[in-house]
Symmetry: C2
Subunit: 126 residues, 2 copies
């Protein structure tokens, strides 16, 4: 699965981070400014910013002792592109499948209870 997409969705899936993201859309802000406008502590904001940064959605720049965060247009655009592509693919396949019901619903052979397949890479990375 596309990692950028998953990371981006995960990042924006949290309400607090989404709020931060929105705030930053209005213009660059320092961590303190963000924290003061939100119901969580400054360190919490820092941590969220790190996630957003790792997802490529924001960038930071030192400004004297403070650190200004702003959206990263490139990252945002990229995520948006991946997202659009995902939608398009999914809905395309869906409509195609809808038009020709075909030979769906075969029972498919059983498999031993304990044998799961393709150990999907958990998003769990912390």
């Amino acid at each position: 699965m596309n990692t950028y997409l998953q990371a981006g969705l995960d990042a924006l899936g949290d309400a607090t981070r989404m709020a931060i993201f929105q705030r930053l859309a209005a213009g660059p802000l320092a961590v303190n400014q963000l924290a003061r406008a939100m119901p969580v502590s400054r360190p919490a904001v820092s941590q969220h910013l790190k996630v957003l940064k790792d997802a490529g959605l924001v960038r930071d720049s030192r400004q004297g002792t403070r650190r200004l965060y702003r959206l990263d247009p490139e990252g945002v655009a990229r995520l948006r592109a991946h997202f659009d592509q995902m939608w398009t693919r999914a809905m395309g396949a869906f409509q195609q499948a809808a038009e020709k019901p075909e030979e769906e619903n075969r029972h498919g052979k059983r498999r031993g209870r304990g044998s799961r397949q393709e150990e999907r890479s958990r998003k769990r990375v912390h």
Copy 2:
């Protein structure tokens, strides 16, 4: 903040649910079929399906004893619309802010340490 958007992002933010979503894009599937193709148990799939359903991304229909799940084009379209709108707004505001640096970076008055504002509604609802 828009609830549909947040719920949708949260739903697709999980890798397992995203995988389920993708599978369903290829055509309707029963819970068992999904579970067999994935590294998690059937109940887990059921629970994820519930989340996706609550987010309006999938629909289910009884088919004898089984229950077929498929994407919900309406819900998907709606989420996509909200998403696009969000992007557009955010990037619009961002560019506008970028063009006129204005009188940013005023220190802003302090506020008593303990007073946080607008107890943002946590997504925690279980």
